[in-house]
Symmetry: C2
Amino acid sequence: MRRKSLPRPTDAELAILRVLWQTGASTVREVHDALSGSQETGYTTVLKLLQIMTEKGLVVRDESQRAHVYQASESEQKTQRQLLGDLVDRAFGGSQAQLVMQALSTTRASRTEITAIRELLEQMEEESK
Amino acid sequence: MRRKSLPRPTDAELAILRVLWQTGASTVREVHDALSGSQETGYTTVLKLLQIMTEKGLVVRDESQRAHVYQASESEQKTQRQLLGDLVDRAFGGSQAQLVMQALSTTRASRTEITAIRELLEQMEEESK
DNA sequence: ACCAAACTACGAACACCTTCGTTGACATTA
DNA sequence: TAATGTCAACGAAGGTGTTCGTAGTTTGGT
């Protein structure tokens, strides 16, 4: 039973994961091309990263084709929550609410977003009753 | 005019910064002792870290005493905001609101915290008018 | 069947992070 | 003053992250 939580993805790894979340399962070439828009990374660099990420369990690899197909093993939301949890522990003394407030205070959220957040709040209050 | 933003503090550096924010300007020994509660770090390790952090500009050093006194060069809030901004860029596609919602959805905030957040929201709505 | 293109695998280089031992200077105390 | 303790500085080691060159294999086109 492997239930160990996955390691926190590094910066380069996160950039790759974002591609996989956005475009779904992809080959190295597809990831590399998608990445080329924002940064200049060599093809073999992306390949190596994906190999390492496979070892770490951050992605799963389908080797049935010649060009292996990679897929993020955790959802974007779950990873985001993990990263937030890490940050809460490391920089906010464990107070998630503190983080939320700090984030809110620098946000220029649109009207719709504010409404969405407010709805979330009401839902929380409901549950904590 | 050195206006470059400071580098993102590493995990070990952040642990030290937290001590400095909490207890104010401190000597290496004081930081080390404070840290001993939570982790096992050698004295010279803390010293080295603080020296590196001085070079990076993360802390400022007062050498007027034999035991140098270190102080965080940025406030806790400013650093927290920087870290949040980094995370927003790296993992949330630049959407701060997205981060807030994700954080909220896993928060067990107390009633008072919810109220505080709600007030912040109203304030934001006020300003965006 | 041959050549060029695309692919994986591997290793190595380099930078950075973290750790700690050692050294030499300075201070305190017996 | 001699011994002991505290301090900053330095270097080095071991780990990890990121990069890419090279080699070898497979595929597709001619």
